[in-house]
Symmetry: C2
Subunit: 468 residues, 2 copies
């Protein structure tokens, strides 16, 4: 099959769309509001709706859509819940949005093996409810309850529990995907490890729909801990908070969450979640384990944070208090948005070696102050991953310029200390230039793989790489 | 550059060799005994020596060798310590063996970040000695102390501690490699996680030198546990032992090793390591953590193995006893070889969902009995990964036929229950057909990647895939 550039684009799109409408009469929409809902929403990245939305119900549907797209040379953009932040689901050149949300069957839970198999459209919330009585849970927690597991895999999501349980990279044992040539493949196995050939699972996890469309996943599950204990400590400086979080990493595997909020973020959380925390750099901890192990770790943690001059250190042994604290942490993003009404949130993330966290967070803080930007910081301190949530007025050109400089320096600082331009949000459209800076010569290898597996650039073009 | 098939192979090889000898006068050998030492040794796979061996000392050396090999269209086989088991370092079509053992500088240890950077030729033993006073250790333990970390990454090695600390897949944060086009790339970063583009680190880990030549690694380190406790339990059947090991997995992160030896393996270990263990299916446990956490886990483990009808359960609280036990476990392979002098060991491995371990181990056991094969079993029960060490007489054609049937059924059984044809030994030459069976349609994707990144098939040809 050769690339046909003679046919006008408009014809190709209208013919593909007509074919889609005929083939999937009950699974399709081209109503503008629906198209708009399938473009990027949660960030400043400008929405670029697709030409048509198809709800896949089977692997064969996915294959059929890919086949039609290939024949007409138009893009296919896989869509989960649309909660990504870097424009991953935008359709810069139009094309077919393949909504996976109806492929939402939980196919199997193997309690003895602590794994499960789910279709790509199953959400975190749905899986959590399903597992409720099994004694097992799926730990990866990027914050969005309605995120689909397929979308989380495609963007290599992580979140608050990564320090203990790892990210999607670590918790996807295998997957099924439809490739650009229409083949349906299965990678990995149900074994916990394998040395059999190339690690296609890890290649597809984080590939953002540009190499294949994930249709199902085999996920690793973990035992619900016997005890869960939360603690909170505030510090007079970001440096002390970060240093305490590094030291805490040596306390061992009871440490399941180590989250950092700066003073501005705490103020917002106090208002949004009706709390009265001291508006200073604060660490939220969560410990998982047996009652004995968590109690021991809690006591060690108390000693440790006092060594790092914590101003206070409080336990939330009570389940209700613990839940409120963590809901507050989870809702920090929303609280921050509400704290500056009329402004728009630009949420960015970088990840650095933990020893460099204090310096990078402090630099971001100083930078936002100097440049008169509102930029509370919320971080997964245990992983060296932090978010600046910059509240901007998109109509203020000067402020948008200052934002651009701030983001550029944030990434530059992270790369300078051996970090990465994104710990968990991915590249999408928003960080293509940052990836070029970071990847250097390895970008060519990524391109070679993309060209080999998707020579016509049908799958989510304009993401990860600049458009051809 | 186009493939030149007009020049006779003999000329291409002799010209390349002459160029290598001129370019690296002090780093090269074509003495037959040296060539032989660089071919496969530890298995039945027939040794196929390279045409010449070059000891790389710098990344530039590696690039120069790849450039010469490319120009003359001859293979380059990266060599670490030669401890792999499936013919990974053989040179079926001759070519240049690139010995990485002189690139053995430990470049940096970052205690706060719990990571280090090493050249590919650094051995496990060397790194362990270097880390002795840091409070940190590198956990991946495939058994061979002299294995190089580059070789371990290239084969996605794992071993006894995977249940707690993961394999090379999980403990390589990033790496540098020379690709077939001569480019030197760096993948990953020092950040603990990243969502920046394709996961080239995981693609190269386990690629067995067929996609690129690993020159250095950034490795994750772990805190040396405050307490290490060993325990041993024997059972009247493999099923009870396996069931106990599955149940033990819910005990949480103190569980650092769960190893299974069958009765035959115990007999050999008793002789080889001067022990007097009961010659029955036996689990070896090791617990890592604080004194409190390991003591609690030990007590729970005692209750648990008694529930699964353990015939005895003994602690090795004493460091010396613990060390002897684990040395015995590590030396099991050598003890088994010595127990049947005059025979040759064929060591194979498969990995299955843990719930299927009992059934697969029992099937292998019954199969070897029916077919009159000596095949002790040693397994990483916590991962569902087990080895049959078949002691054969290579000159007995009938026995070799029965061996072939046994291996075929072992793999068939593993695949039938959702497992993999190799948990940790890799594909090399020995399991190419097994990978074809396991990978199905995904094999074509692996091939596409190989063709894209190494279009002339210079890098370790005849491994992972059938020769072109």
């Amino acid at each position: 099959m050769q690339r046909s550039s003679t046919q006008p684009a408009a014809n190709r799109y209208s013919e593909a769309k007509a074919e889609i409408l005929t083939r999937f009469p009950d699974q399709v929409s081209d109503v503008p509001v629906t198209l708009g809902q399938h473009a990027n929403t949660l960030s400043l990245v400008v929405s670029e709706p697709p030409s048509v939305v198809v709800w896949a119900q089977t692997v064969q549907d996915v294959q059929a859509v890919v086949e039609i797209a290939t024949r007409h040379r138009i893009p296919v953009i896989a869509f989960g819940a649309g909660t990504s932040l870097e424009g991953h689901v935008n359709a810069p050149a139009g094309g077919i949005c393949l909504d996976m949300s109806r492929m939402n069957t939980i196919l199997r839970v193997n309690v003895d093996d602590m794994d499960c198999e789910v279709e790509a459209g199953v959400t975190r919330r749905q899986l959590a409810a399903h597992l409720r009585d099994t004694g097992l849970f799926f730990p990866v927690d990027p914050g969005a309850e309605d995120a689909t597991l397929g979308g989380m895999a495609a963007t290599r999501a992580s979140g608050t529990t990564t320090v203990r349980y790892g990210s999607m990279r670590d918790n996807v044992l295998g997957l099924s995907a439809v490739m650009a040539d229409g083949s349906a493949i299965t990678t990995g196995s149900r074994a916990r490890k394998s040395a059999a050939g190339y690690d296609l699972t890890r290649l597809l996890v984080g590939s953002e729909g540009t190499l294949g469309i994930i249709t199902s996943l085999t996920l690793r599950l973990h035992p619900v801990p016997e005890a869960t204990v939360a603690a909170i400590a505030s510090f007079s400086s970001l440096k002390e908070a970060c240093d305490a979080s590094i030291a805490a990493l040596t306390l061992g595997p009871a440490l399941a969450r180590v989250e950092l909020l700066d003073g501005k973020a705490i103020e917002a959380v106090n208002t949004g979640s009706k709390l009265s925390l001291t508006a200073l750099p604060t660490l939220f901890f969560e410990l998982h384990g047996t009652a004995v192990a968590t109690a021991e770790c809690a006591s060690q943690l108390g000693d440790l944070v006092r060594e790092y001059a914590a101003l206070n250190f409080e336990w939330a042994a009570d389940d209700e208090v613990r839940r409120r604290l963590w809901i507050a942490r989870h809702d920090a993003f929303w609280s921050i948005r509400e704290a500056w009404p009329g402004r728009t949130a630009v949420v960015t993330d970088v990840c650095v070696p933990v020893s460099k966290l204090a310096e990078c967070v402090a630099a971001a803080n100083a930078d936002s102050t100097v440049n008169n930007l509102i930029a509370p910081i919320v971080g997964h301190a245990g992983d060296g991953n932090f978010h600046a949530i910059v509240m901007v007025d998109p109509n203020d050109a000067g402020e948008m310029d200052r934002l651009a400089g701030f983001l550029d320096r944030l990434i530059g600082n992270a790369l300078a200390v051996g970090g990465t331009c994104t710990g968990e949000h991915g590249i999408g459209q928003g960080k293509i230039a940052a990836l070029e800076r970071e990847a250097g010569a390895s970008l060519a290898v990524m391109r070679q793989i993309k060209n080999a597996l998707d020579p016509l650039s049908i799958l989510n073009p304009g993401k990860v790489f600049r458009p051809f």
